[in-house]
C-alpha cells in the first residue's frame, strides 16, 4: 500500500498495462518527451520506447482513427485526449467507427481501445478546458463509459479499461489529479470490483446521492455536513456511466425513497436525466419525492471567474437534498 496522487496512480496503472501486454500502446499529443500536459504518462516513453508511447501529430480524428486501425491489427491503443473540449474533432471516429465496428462485423473485429479524457472544471482554465462531455458518449451504443473518483480506482480501473475488449471512454477528473490516496499496487486485478459496478461510499438511510468523478468528494463532504443536521445521506460513486449499475442504485432508493444526482455537465440531457428516468421507472412506488438533479447549468462552460457558480458545490447539493426532503430550500414557497 502506498500513498499516491491520482496522477501517479494513473501513471502506475498505465505502466502496469504496458508491462503486462506488449500490444498495449499509448498515443496522444505531447505524451512522450513531455509526459503529457498533466504528466500522466511521465517517464513512460523513456522506459517503453517511442513505438509504445507515441507522440502523434496534432489531429484528434487522426488519433482515434489510427487507433481503430491498430485495433484491427490486434493492438490495444490507449489514447489521451489532451482536454475534454478537444475530443469533438474525433467524434465521428468514435461514434461511427470505434463504437460500431464490433456490431458491424458481428463480433469479428474487436475494438479494445481506451480513450483517456481529463475532464471537468474547477481549475481556472480558459475555454474548452473544463467540459464534461460524458453524456454524448453514454448515449452512444457500443461504448463503455467510466469515470474514476479516487487514486485506487484510477489505478485499477485504467487497467480494467485497457483489458476490456470493448472500447472504453475513461473520464479522469482533472481537478483531483493532485489528491492523494492509498493505492494497493499489488492488488490482483481479478479480485478487484468490476469496472461496471457502482460503489456505496457512505451509507445512509434518508437520501440517496449519486455522483461520479470529481463530485464524489463533494458528495461525501455533503454527507458529512448533512449528518450534523441529522440527515443520513447514502453516497454512491457511479464509476460506470454506461452501463449504469442500476441494481445498486435501486436498492438504495428503495431504502431511502429519495434520490439526488449531481454532475458538472449541463442539466438538460445530462446523465442525471437518464438516472432520474430509470430510477423512476424501476422504483416508482418507493419514491417519496421526485428525483432531484444538481448540475451545471444549460450554458457553455463559463469563464473561470464564474465557474464556481456553474459547478455544483456542497451548498447546492444540500439544497437539492433539502428539496427531496421537503425541508426549506431554494424553491420553498414555489410549486415544483
Amino acid at each position: 500500500m502506498s500513498q499516491l496522487t491520482f496522477a501517479r496512480a494513473l501513471n502506475a496503472g498505465l505502466r502496469k498495462s504496458l508491462e503486462n501486454d506488449p500490444k498495449v500502446i499509448l498515443m496522444g499529443e505531447d505524451i512522450g518527451t513531455l509526459g503529457g500536459v498533466f504528466r500522466i504518462t511521465d517517464g513512460l516513453q523513456k522506459d517503453f520506447g517511442k513505438h509504445r508511447v507515441v507522440d502523434t501529430p496534432l489531429a484528434e480524428s487522426g488519433i482515434i482513427g489510427t487507433a481503430v486501425g491498430l485495433a484491427y491489427r490486434g493492438y490495444r491503443p490507449v489514447c489521451e485526449i489532451q482536454f475534454d473540449g478537444f475530443i469533438y474533432p474525433a467524434f465521428d471516429q468514435i461514434v461511427s467507427q470505434m463504437a460500431k465496428l464490433h456490431y458491424r462485423t458481428m463480433g469479428r473485429v474487436k475494438m479494445p481501445i481506451t480513450i483517456r479524457v481529463p475532464f471537468g472544471g474547477g481549475i481556472g482554465s480558459p475555454e474548452h478546458h473544463s467540459e464534461s462531455p460524458e453524456a454524448y458518449f453514454t448515449h452512444t451504443s457500443g461504448l463503455r463509459v467510466v469515470s474514476v473518483s479516487n487514486p485506487q480506482d484510477a489505478y485499477t480501473m485504467i487497467q480494467q479499461a485497457i483489458a476490456s475488449d470493448d472500447p472504453v471512454l475513461f473520464f479522469e477528473p482533472k481537478r483531483r489529479y493532485h489528491d492523494k490516496g492509498d493505492v494497493d499496487e499489488a492488488k490482483d486485478l481479478a479480485q478487484a470490483l468490476s469496472m461496471e459496478k457502482a460503489r456505496v461510499v457512505t451509507e445512509g438511510k434518508d437520501v440517496t446521492l449519486v455522483a461520479y468523478g470529481p463530485l464524489v468528494k463533494t458528495a461525501k463532504d455533503a454527507a458529512i455536513a448533512a449528518a450534523d443536521e441529522g440527515v443520513a445521506i447514502e453516497v454512491i460513486d457511479l464509476r460506470s456511466l454506461a452501463p449504469i449499475d442500476f441494481p445498486v442504485l435501486e436498492a438504495s432508493v428503495r431504502k431511502t425513497g429519495r434520490l439526488v444526482i449531481t454532475h458538472e455537465a449541463s442539466q438538460s440531457g445530462g446523465l442525471g436525466a437518464e438516472i432520474a428516468a430509470s430510477i423512476t421507472e424501476r422504483c416508482f412506488n418507493y419514491l417519496e419525492a421526485s428525483p432531484v438533479r444538481v448540475t451545471g447549468f444549460d450554458v457553455p462552460y463559463p469563464y473561470s471567474k464564474l465557474e464556481m457558480h456553474h459547478l455544483p458545490d456542497l451548498d447546492r447539493i444540500l439544497d437539492g437534498v433539502d428539496r427531496t426532503l421537503g425541508r426549506p430550500n431554494s424553491l420553498s414557497g414555489l410549486e415544483g
Binding site: 491498430l70 484491427y72 458491424r104 462485423t105
Partner: protein, 395 residues
C-alpha cells in the same frame, strides 16, 4: 529529372531515399508528382512502351493477361447482375463499379494475400478477387447484415460508408505493421470526393510522419455523386499527396497494366521501408452513383460517350485480340465463368437466410452488458406476448 516525370523509378527509390529535405534547411522538396498520365495500353488497345513502368509488369504472362481480362469481365457481370437484382427488388441498393474494372483488378491483383485492404463501398470487384463469397458481397445491400465477410479471413476490412474514414484505419494498421516489423502493406482505397474530407488529409499527415507501409489508392472516377472532381480540387489529386511529403503517381485507371505497375511500385516501396505512396487512378464511373441515383440530372450524355470509348474491358480485349490470345475458346471460357458467377450470385441472394428479431441485440459488445441484456429480455417477452415463437422464426 524531367519535368513531370514520375520519380518512383529513379535512383531515389528505396528506403530512406524519399526523405524530404527536412524542416527549415531551405532545400527544395525533391518529390515530383506525375503530371503526365501513365498509360501502358492505349484506348485503342495498343501496348505503349514506358521504360520505367514496363519493368514492373514484365513478368505478366499472356496467361495472366487473359486472367486479368476474365476478372474484369466477371466483376462487370457481378455488377450487372447485382444491379438487376436491385431493380427486381431483391437488393435494397447497389453501388455499381461499371467502368472501374481496370482500377479494381489492376490494384487487387498486385496486392499480396497477407497485405491488408481498407476499401470504400464501391470495391465489390476487389472483394470478389480477395475471396469474399458472393453472398457476403451482397448481404449488406440486401439488408441482411451490416456487412458480409470476415475481415480477418480475407485480409480486407468491411466496406466503409463514411467517406474517407478508412484511410485513417489503414494508416493505423500500417503503424501496427511497422511496430511488428512485418513485411506487409496496408492498402487503402478512396474516391476523388473523399480527398476533401479532413480524415483523409490527417491520414496523410500520420502516414508521412511515421513513414508507414501504406498505399493510398484513389479512384478518381470524376464524380462524387453529382459533384465533379474540379469542385474538390483545382489541381490534380496526385499533387495533394506531395504537399504532405508523400510521393505520388497518376495513372490511367482504365488501363489494367498501368494500374498494376503503379500498385506494385507503391507496394514495393512500402515493403522496403520507403513509406507511403499515393496513386491517383484516373477512371470514370459509367453508371449511376448507386441504383438510387439518376446521373442524367447532372451530367452530359457526351461525357459518358467519351468515356465509353475508353472502356477498360474493350481496351484489354483489343490488346488480347491483337496478340491472338482471345480465340473463340478463350472467349467462351470467360463467358462461361461470368455466367456461372452470375448464377451463383443470384442463388446466394435467393437462399440468404433472414435474420431473427433478437439478432438486433447481438454483438453490440463483446461481453455482457446490463442495458442490452435488459432490453433484449424485455423485447423477447414483448414478442412472446403476441404468442408463438416469433422471436426465433424468420421475419
Amino acid at each position: 529529372m524531367l519535368e513531370g516525370a514520375i520519380n518512383v523509378l529513379t535512383d531515389e527509390v528505396g528506403p530512406g531515399a524519399n526523405s524530404p529535405g527536412g524542416q527549415g534547411n531551405g532545400t527544395t522538396n525533391p518529390l515530383r508528382t506525375g503530371g503526365n498520365l501513365v498509360q501502358l495500353i492505349s484506348p485503342a488497345g495498343e501496348r505503349i512502351n514506358h521504360p520505367e513502368f514496363d519493368v514492373w509488369i514484365k513478368d505478366v504472362s499472356d496467361y495472366q493477361l487473359l486472367s486479368l481480362y476474365e476478372d474484369m469481365v466477371v466483376i462487370r457481370r457481378i455488377d450487372t447482375e447485382a444491379t438487376a437484382l436491385q431493380r427486381q427488388g431483391e437488393l435494397a441498393l447497389w453501388p455499381p463499379l461499371l467502368g472501374q474494372e481496370a482500377s479494381q483488378i489492376g490494384s487487387v491483383r498486385a496486392i499480396r494475400s497477407d497485405d491488408f485492404i481498407f476499401p470504400s463501398y464501391r470495391e465489390s470487384g476487389v472483394a470478389y478477387c480477395r475471396g469474399a463469397e458472393l453472398g457476403e458481397i451482397i448481404r449488406p445491400w440486401r439488408g441482411n447484415a451490416l456487412y458480409g465477410w470476415d475481415p480477418h479471413r480475407i485480409n480486407m476490412a468491411t466496406p466503409q460508408i463514411v467517406i474517407g474514414s478508412q484511410t485513417l484505419h489503414a494508416t493505423g494498421y500500417a503503424m501496427g505493421i511497422q511496430n511488428d516489423g512485418a513485411d506487409i502493406v496496408a492498402f487503402s482505397y478512396l474516391g476523388d470526393g473523399a480527398t476533401s474530407e479532413g480524415d483523409v488529409n490527417e491520414a496523410m499527415v500520420f502516414a508521412a510522419s511515421y513513414q508507414v507501409p501504406l498505399v493510398f489508392f484513389c479512384q478518381n472516377n470524376h464524380w462524387a455523386i453529382s459533384e465533379p472532381v474540379r469542385l474538390q480540387s483545382r489541381v490534380q489529386l496526385a499533387d495533394r499527396a506531395t504537399g504532405f511529403g508523400i510521393p505520388s503517381m497518376r495513372v490511367d485507371g482504365n488501363d489494367v497494366l498501368a494500374v498494376m505497375a503503379a500498385s506494385r511500385i507503391g507496394l514495393d516501396r512500402a515493403r522496403k521501408g520507403g513509406g507511403p505512396t499515393f496513386i491517383e487512378a484516373v477512371t470514370y464511373r459509367m453508371g449511376p452513383h448507386t441504383t438510387a441515383d439518376d446521373p442524367t440530372r447532372y451530367r452530359d450524355a457526351n461525357e459518358l460517350e467519351d468515356w465509353a470509348a475508353k472502356d477498360p474491358i474493350v481496351r484489354l480485349k483489343s490488346l488480347l485480340s491483337v496478340k491472338g490470345l482471345l480465340g473463340e475458346e478463350a472467349q467462351a471460357s470467360v463467358q462461361a465463368k461470368a455466367d456461372s458467377v452470375a448464377r451463383e450470385l443470384r442463388d446466394a441472394c435467393a437462399t440468404m437466410p433472414d435474420p431473427a428479431p433478437l439478432d438486433v441485440f447481438n454483438h453490440v459488445y463483446s461481453t455482457p452488458h446490463s442495458w442490452i441484456d435488459h432490453q433484449k429480455d424485455h423485447y423477447s417477452r414483448y414478442l412472446a406476448s403476441f404468442g408463438g415463437s416469433s422471436q426465433e422464426g424468420a421475419l
